[in-house]
C-alpha cells in the first residue's frame, strides 16, 4: 500500500479551478493545473481544509458507504465520542448506542471506552519519560502526518500509544470473536468517524502495522438514519445498557479532552491546523517552556470540528459537556494493578493482541526536499530566491500555485514554467508587441522610401 494514501478526492466536473483550496492548504499540497485542482499526495496530511473551503463541493472526503455492513456476518459499531455532540437534548448515550444496533449493527463498542485506557496509559508514560517532555498527543492522524513530513525533531516526542480508535478496534474484535466464535474475517469493525483522516490512518497506519478497523463511516451519513431510530428507542423504553465510558472518555471528542484526562495542569491544547503548525514551530525552536503534554487537533474545536460532522463544533462541545455532567470520571482501566476496583461499573481490560503501545517506528519523510545533494539544493534554493525577486509577490494564485514562492519552487522542481505567472507573461507579451510594432514601423519606413524612389 502506498505510504502516502490520502482521503480527499476531486470531482473534476464540479471543480472550477478557482484558487480557494490552494490558498487554504496548510502544506501547499494543491495546485490548479489545466483548470483543475491537483493534490500532490505526499504533501497532503488529510486535514480536510480543502473540503471545508471548496465553494463548489468538488473536494470530497473519502470514506466507506453504509452498505459495507453487508460485507460481514457480524458487525460492531465504534462510535467516536464526537458523535454524541451531534444530538439535541440527549441525556443518555445508551439511546444512541441502542439506535446503532437497530440500524443494523450487531454490537457497539465505544471509542471513548478505549480512550480512557489511553488516558491511563498516557499518565504512566508521561510520568516515566520526563526526558521526552513535552509529550505530543498522537491521536489526530493529521498531526502525526504533519510531524512526519515537517517536524523531524519532534517525532521522538510523539506519544507512542495507540489512538483510541485503534485500541477500541482491537478490543472490539477480540470481544466479538470470543462472543460469536466467528473467525476474524467475518467480523466487521466499523468506525463512525468525524473525519476522513481516519480513513488514511486505517489504510496506511502509522505506529502500528495494521489497524483492526475494517470500515470507516461518516457521522453525517449515520446521523439522519439514527435520528428516527433514537426516537423509536426512547419511545419504546427498551434502552440497552451498552455504554462503557465515563467523563474522561467522552471528553476526548473536543479540544482539551485528552489533556484533561491526564490530570495535570502542565499542558497546552491547540486546535486548528494553522495553530497546530505554529505550536510545532515554536516547540521545535524551544520557544515553549517546560510542559508535560501538548494536545494537538487539526480541526477547530477538536474532533467535533471534523468535516464529516453535522453540528457546529462549539455547540457540539457544549452538548458533550452537558452529557457528561452526571457520568462517573472513568470506567475503564488497563488492569487491576492499582488495587481492587470497587466500582461495579468499572470495566477491566485485558488483551492478548496489544499492550496498547506502538509497534512501528515513525520515520521522517523529507517530502519537501529540493535537490538530491547539498550542492544541488543550494543551487535550487538560490534559483528560488532569484525567481522570487522577479515575481511580483502578489501571491495572486493565478498561476495555480498558492504563492509566488511556491511557483518558484515548482519552476525549480521542473513542474511549472516561469511564464505561468501572468505578470511575467504580460511583460513578455509587451516585449513581443513592442518588437512587432518596431518591425511594423520599420516596414512602413521601407515602403515610404520606396515610394519616394518611384517619384
Amino acid at each position: 500500500m502506498d505510504k502516502f494514501f490520502n482521503a480527499v478526492r476531486l470531482d473534476e466536473n464540479l471543480c472550477k479551478g478557482c484558487i480557494n483550496c490552494i490558498k487554504r492548504c496548510p502544506t501547499g499540497a494543491i495546485r490548479v493545473r489545466n483548470g483543475k485542482a491537483v493534490i500532490t499526495k505526499k504533501f497532503c496530511i488529510d486535514c480536510g481544509e480543502c473540503i471545508r473551503i471548496c465553494p463548489h463541493h468538488a473536494k470530497l472526503p473519502f470514506y466507506d458507504p453504509i452498505s459495507i455492513l453487508e460485507d460481514y456476518e457480524y458487525t460492531v459499531a465504534l462510535p467516536a465520542p464526537s458523535l454524541y455532540g451531534q444530538f439535541n437534548n440527549l441525556d443518555d448515550i445508551n439511546i444512541v448506542l441502542t439506535a446503532l444496533k437497530r440500524m443494523g449493527f450487531d454490537d457497539v463498542y465505544e471509542v471513548s471506552g478505549a480512550a480512557e485506557l489511553v488516558s491511563e496509559m498516557s499518565r504512566q508514560y508521561i510520568e516515566e519519560n520526563q526526558d521526552k517532555w513535552p509529550i505530543i498527543s498522537s491521536a489526530c492522524p493529521s498531526v502525526v502526518r504533519l510531524i512526519r513530513v515537517r517536524f523531524p525533531n519532534l517525532i521522538e516526542h510523539l506519544l507512542p500509544i495507540l489512538a483510541p480508535i485503534d485500541l477500541a478496534a482491537t478490543l472490539a474484535r477480540e470481544k466479538a470473536m470470543k462472543e460469536t466464535g466467528l473467525p476474524s474475517e467475518k467480523i466487521g469493525i466499523i468506525f463512525i468517524s468525524p473525519c476522513p483522516a481516519k480513513v488514511s490512518a486505517v489504510r496506511t497506519p502509522l505506529g502500528i502495522e495494521k489497524s483492526d478497523v475494517d470500515g470507516v463511516l461518516a457521522i453525517k451519513d449515520v446521523y439522519p438514519r439514527l435520528l428516527p431510530l433514537m426516537k423509536e428507542v426512547e419511545a419504546s423504553g427498551n434502552i440497552e445498557e451498552l455504554s462503557i465510558s465515563g467523563k474522561i472518555g467522552i471528553s476526548w471528542g473536543g479540544t482539551g479532552g485528552e489533556a484533561g484526562g491526564l490530570l495535570t495542569d502542565s499542558y497546552l491544547a491547540a486546535d486548528g491546523i494553522e495553530n497546530v503548525i505554529r505550536v510545532l514551530e515554536d516547540l521545535e525552536d524551544q520557544k515553549i517552556g517546560t510542559l508535560e503534554f501538548i494536545e494537538l487537533n487539526a480541526c477547530n474545536g477538536g474532533c467535533v470540528g471534523g468535516v464529516l460532522t453535522v453540528e457546529n463544533p462549539f455547540v457540539a462541545r457544549v452538548k458533550i459537556k452537558r452529557l457528561r455532567k452526571y457520568m462517573p470520571v472513568a470506567r475503564n482501566h488497563m488492569d487491576s494493578k492499582k488495587g481492587p476496583i470497587s466500582d461495579k461499573k468499572v470495566i477491566k481490560i485485558e488483551s492478548s493482541k496489544t499492550n496498547g503501545y506502538w509497534t512501528e517506528e515513525i520515520k521522517y519523510e523529507p517530502v519537501f526536499k529540493l535537490g538530491v545533494n547539498m550542492q544541488e539544493s543550494i543551487a535550487m534554493i538560490s534559483k528560488v530566491e532569484e525567481l522570487c525577486e522577479r515575481f511580483p509577490g502578489l501571491d495572486c494564485g493565478s498561476c495555480g500555485a498558492p504563492t509566488c514562492k511556491a511557483l518558484a519552487e515548482d519552476v525549480v522542481r521542473g513542474v511549472a514554467s516561469e511564464k505561468d505567472c501572468i505578470h511575467i507573461l504580460r511583460e513578455f507579451i509587451h516585449k513581443i508587441s513592442d518588437e512587432i510594432s518596431m518591425l511594423d514601423n520599420h516596414n512602413k519606413g521601407v515602403k515610404h522610401s520606396s515610394h519616394k524612389e518611384e517619384m
Binding site: R150, P152, N153, E281, E284, D285, Q286, K287, Y364, P366, F368, K369, L370, G371, N373, M374, Q375, S377, I378, A379, I381, S382, E385, E409
Partner: protein, 141 residues
C-alpha cells in the same frame, strides 16, 4: 554555479511580533535542502537567540547567513550599545534586559549561553557605544 547561498535579513528593533522571522526562514530553507534535522535545530535555536538579542538590546540589526555544503555561518551585526562584560554575559542567567522585557518572558539570561551551546563556533566582536558582531558557525559534517 555558486556552491554557497547568502541570505540577508534585517531585524527590526523592539518588534517582538516579528522576532524569529529570520530564523524561521533559514530553518525552512535548511529543511528543504535536506540538512540533517539535528543541525537544522542547532541553527534555528542559536540564530533565534541572536535575533531576540538584537531586538531586546541593540535596536535591531542585520543578519547574514551563508550556507555552504559543509557549514552554516551566521553573522549578526548591530549598532547597539555593545557588551560591557562578555564573560558575565556568557554566564547562564545573567541579563541586562530591563524589567518590561523580562515581564514578556524574555531576558532570562540564556541568550548568549544558548548561542554558544547550539553553535559549533562562536566569535564575539564588540565595542561599547559602537555595536556588536557575533559570528556563529554550525558544521554540517
Amino acid at each position: 554555479m555558486s556552491d554557497q547561498i547568502e541570505l540577508t535579513y534585517q531585524v527590526s528593533a523592539d518588534d517582538f511580533t516579528r522576532a524569529g522571522e529570520a530564523s524561521s526562514d533559514v530553518k525552512s530553507k535548511l529543511k528543504k535542502m535536506g540538512v540533517n534535522p539535528e543541525i537544522v535545530r542547532k541553527v534555528a535555536i542559536s540564530m533565534y537567540e541572536g535575533e531576540i538579542n538584537m531586538v531586546i538590546h541593540a535596536d535591531g540589526g542585520t543578519i547574514k547567513v551563508i550556507i555552504s555544503p559543509t557549514e552554516i555561518t551566521m553573522i549578526l551585526e548591530d549598532h547597539g550599545p555593545g557588551i560591557e562584560d562578555i564573560e558575565k554575559a556568557m554566564q547562564a542567567g545573567y541579563s541586562t534586559a530591563p524589567d518590561n522585557i523580562r515581564s514578556l518572558g524574555f531576558g532570562a539570561g540564556m541568550g548568549l549561553p544558548n548561542m554558544k551551546k547550539y553553535s559549533d563556533e562562536m566569535k564575539i566582536e564588540t565595542k561599547l557605544g559602537v555595536g556588536t558582531k557575533v559570528t556563529m558557525k554550525v558544521f554540517i559534517r
